[in-house]
Amino acid sequence: GNSGATSSSAGSSSASTSSFDGNFVLGFDQDFPPYGYVGDDGSYTGFDIDLAQAVCDREGWKLVPTPISWDAKDTLLNSGQITCIWNGFTIEGREDGYAFTDPYMENRQVVVVPASSDVQQLSDLAGKNVITQADSAALDVLSEGGSQEELGKSFGNLQTIDNYNTAFMMLESGQVDAIAIDYPVAVFNIGDKTSEFRILDENLNSEHFGVGFAKTDDGAQLAKTVEADLQALDSEGTAKELCEKYADQGVSYDLWCLPKA
């Protein structure tokens, strides 16, 4: 990399590195609404994808949203097949592995139970079967070394699944008692079935989303560029607009946390 990469302030210059050719390949898990998923028209949509589109518009990049297999995300990033992971991507616990932007969004992990459940607060979960997505932030929080390790240990069983859709079916049919999940994802999946599911008032934790790039000089430089663009989008009000667009899916501008430029 070179030292002239502090172009973050202007927000109009593109990264001038050899490996980045202006195709902004955004790796995401398409099973992760509302951040990235398949819209009703069949094209990729979601809060993070719209946000990335706005960044690319500013930079004159071409956005290439690329669904990836979560197993391959690091390999893809390191080998340059994707430019970044931008997908409700939790920073906490991953600081060492990626070149992150500053956190732009606060997120919280919550617990969903059936409306009729006798579980009212986190402590009621003792001895219950709780499920969460494999390699999710919620899982990190509840397992060894996480901030809710003790709670996790009190569960009867902490299971994982590859897809929250299945988790909700399991919850509905009685195979699990609760789901630990990102708040917006919970809202999305509950949809209009608010009479059947209930989100506990008590949060598991709060954490932050960032955009993850490869931990290289190029990656760090791109992270700075994107970070500056996000700040610009915030100041022009685009960020707020997008939050409102996805408000019914649990996104809220209250959670926007990127420090102003």
């Binding site: 390699d135 994982t160 299945t166 079916m169 399991m170 195979q175």
Partner: protein, 217 residues
Amino acid sequence: MDFGTMMGMLLSGYRISIIIFAVTLVGSIPLGMLVALGRLSKFKPLSLLMQLFISVLRGTPLMLQMFAVSFMPYYVFGLKTDANFPMIAVLISFVINYAAYFAEIYRSGIQSIPRGQYEAAEVLGYSSRQTFQRIVLPQVVKRVLPAMGNEVVTLVKDTSLAFSLGVLEMFTQARAIVTSQRTMAAFAVAALIYWVTCLIIEYVMRHIEKRLDYYHD
């Protein structure tokens, strides 16, 4: 994560994989034979039913079959199921699915027994059942062994599909380690464990093949 922890996780998953593997074999090997016999039955409706069974179970993804088994009781019959049910659903789905594959292999084996064998048995007065058990089956075993080998080896790895219902077998453990540790090492170890398992299977198969080598036709 140190190597010991990793191996601990993988082996705990391996235990589940092996249970699925073993139960599937024990269940589907005989069930497949019944399906094959139904398929070859001269009673047309039974034969067609079995043909449909085989076609649907081979023709649709095992993962979806697992979903169907797991969620049918609740969504179709309104019955609540419990935390043990996913594993049961996995086992039921695997047994039924593999029975369909095995049935096709058995069918080809049964059909490959020379007509003369059936004729000799018929004239000697063996009932169909006796002909099958004493004359046909032992010879079929020898003939289908290699094709069975393929399916059994596939089964070892198909156990990873159990994760779709939240059952944590070895591959899912490996995947969890890979994503959290950001290296493919756990996958490599898992692959090795799979391979060793398959080597054992191959060894057993070869051993049976040799034992049946005392005759040829």
